[in-house]
Every structure is written in structure tokens, then in C-alpha cells.
């Protein structure tokens, strides 16, 4: 069983908590997904409606581990400060580190990401860096102390699946011992299955579940898809061929002439 900073998880499906039609819908989706990790964030508290307090009360009732993110941070300073605040707020050393470099694609600023990862790991954080499939960046992140990587499938919220299969396969092969979670861009359960079949250790899904017509049903679909993909990887998929190979034995075949 793969461990994420020493934490072994039965479920390979991590779930985001944003963009659900209702808090009750989120709660049912978390249960249907059988998720053991949910991502959370932190935003300005108005003080009037106490929405943040209500949300946190609900999440604690889920009985799952939380993975706070630094979503929306565009600089190292912002990300590091947000991580400090998240550690206190959520009482965890885990941080999904996002340093966004480009507005349209929300592509990670990988230079800032490595710098922030180095700072935070030195301070005892257990960093889940949201990165691209770039091998050199991955190497720098591992050197910085990251013991988990979170490569993107496609731009956040795009639902386009795994954009660069070759790059992701290469990343998986080069860092065989580093737990990896495919994060962002997964739109369908089949995308999640594909990631798991390729040997990734988990997937993180948010929009694909939250924005489905029936988020609870979709959460269940993703749970089954992730499980199927993980089983398939363990089973060892066959190698594809270009030409047909008869599956029915030809020896003993009758001749009718």
C-alpha cells in the first residue's frame, strides 16, 4: 500500500470540496467517493455569516484527513504565508502547494513552486506540489524535499483528461518510488482509470464530481473507476500490438473443404 508521508490510504480517490450545489451534496459525495482525503482552502472570513466556521464543522464530521491548498497564490511569498496559516488553521503539516504562473491555464509557476517547496519542507511541511509532468522540475522538487508529487492531467477544471500521456508515463517511470497523485483536469471516470492503470497512486477530483448533474452518483462512479484502474495496474496489463493475434487457439481447428 502506498504511503503519503507515512500515511497509508485505502482509498486512492482524493476529493475536492469546492463548487458543489450544496453542503449536503458535498457531504453525500464524500461518502459515495469513499474518500479518505479531502482538499480544503482558506479565504477571508466575513465574521457575519460564519460560513467558514460552518464549513469546517461539517468537514470535521466527515472524519477524513484534510489536505489544505494554497490555491490562488501567484508568488512564493503568498504561497508560503498561506501555508503557514493553513498549518495552524487545519492542524496539519500537509500542504497542497500551488504557485500559479499563468491566468488562463492556471499552469504552475514551476520556478516559484520549487522555491516555495524548499522553504516549506525545511520548515517541516509535508508538501504535495501541484506541478506539470516536467521531469527536471520533478527532480528539483524531490531534491527540495518533496516526497509526493502531484502532476496535472490537464488545466484545472478543464475536464480534458490526461493531456500528455507520454510525459506522464515518463514521469511515472523516472520516479517509480515517489507517490504521485494526478491532480487537475480529469473530467471522466475513464480518465481516472487511465491514470491508475498507468501506475499513479491516486487521483484528486473536484470539478468533475461537483459539477456533474448528480455529484453523488458521479462520486460513486469515480470510486469504482479508480479502484478498477488500480486493480488493472496490479494485474499487469498486456502490451498493445499493431497486428491481430487470434485469441482462440488454432490448433485442432477443423478444416471444411
Amino acid at each position: 500500500m502506498t504511503a503519503f508521508y507515512g500515511v497509508e490510504l485505502k482509498s486512492r480517490l482524493m476529493l475536492g470540496t469546492a463548487r458543489y450545489p450544496s453542503p449536503a451534496g458535498l457531504a453525500r459525495a464524500v461518502k459515495a467517493a469513499r474518500a479518505e482525503v479531502v482538499t480544503v482552502s482558506l479565504r477571508r472570513e466575513s465574521g457575519a455569516d460564519r460560513s467558514g466556521q460552518q464549513f469546517w464543522t461539517m468537514v470535521r464530521e466527515f472524519g477524513v484527513r484534510v489536505l489544505p491548498n494554497t490555491a490562488g497564490c501567484h508568488s512564493v511569498k503568498e504561497a508560503v504565508t498561506t501555508a503557514h496559516m493553513a498549518r495552524e488553521l487545519f492542524d496539519t503539516a500537509w500542504i497542497k502547494l500551488e504557485v500559479i504562473g499563468e491566468h488562463d491555464t492556471l499552469q504552475p509557476d514551476v520556478f516559484g513552486l520549487v522555491e516555495a517547496a524548499r522553504i516549506l519542507t525545511a520548515e517541516g511541511f509535508e508538501v504535495f506540489p501541484y506541478t506539470t509532468e516536467d521531469l527536471v522540475v520533478a527532480e528539483k522538487l524531490v531534491e527540495a524535499g518533496c516526497r509526493v508529487l502531484m502532476p496535472w492531467g490537464a488545466p484545472i477544471g478543464s475536464g480534458r483528461g490526461l493531456n500528455n500521456i507520454l510525459g506522464l508515463k515518463s514521469l511515472r517511470a523516472h520516479f517509480a518510488d515517489v507517490p504521485m497523485v494526478v491532480d487537475a483536469g480529469i473530467g471522466l471516470p475513464s480518465h481516472a482509470t487511465q491514470a491508475m492503470e498507468m501506475g499513479f497512486d491516486a487521483v484528486l477530483i473536484n470539478t468533475a464530481v461537483a459539477q456533474a448533474c448528480d455529484p453523488v452518483l458521479m462520486a460513486e462512479a469515480f470510486a469504482k473507476a479508480v479502484e478498477a484502474g488500480a486493480l488493472a495496474h496490479r494485474a499487469g496489463p498486456m502490451e498493445p500490438r499493431d497486428m491481430a493475434v487470434p485469441s482462440t487457439p488454432v490448433i485442432g481447428q477443423a478444416f471444411f473443404r
Partner: protein
Amino acid sequence: MRLVVNGNSREVSTEVRTLASALNELGFSNMIVATAVNGVFVPAQERERQTLADGDQLEVLAPMQGG
């Protein structure tokens, strides 16, 4: 004293000297929040010692939905 709290200008009484007292007066007491003053994180145990000055910028963050 005038403070900028989560981007909004807020007036607090002259008795407010520390971050802890400001949070209390602004209605954040007993809430689970994390704080920063002028862009620097202030841990909860430091709020009593963190003094404030006119124009200081406070960030008061709470748990929120995230992906």
C-alpha cells in the same frame, strides 16, 4: 484607530492595542481563523503580543471549500 481588515477599512476603538483585542472587537473571537498583519503570518499564541498601528492591514482567514 483605522485598520484594513480583509480589504475593508474598519474603525476600531482607541482601546485596541493588539491583534487579539482587534479580533475580539471585530467579532472574530471564538472563531477558528488564522491571521496575518501586513502580509506576515501571526500565530494564534502571538496575537496578544502583536501590537497594531493605524493603517495596519489584517488578513483574517477561515476554512473554506477548495480543490
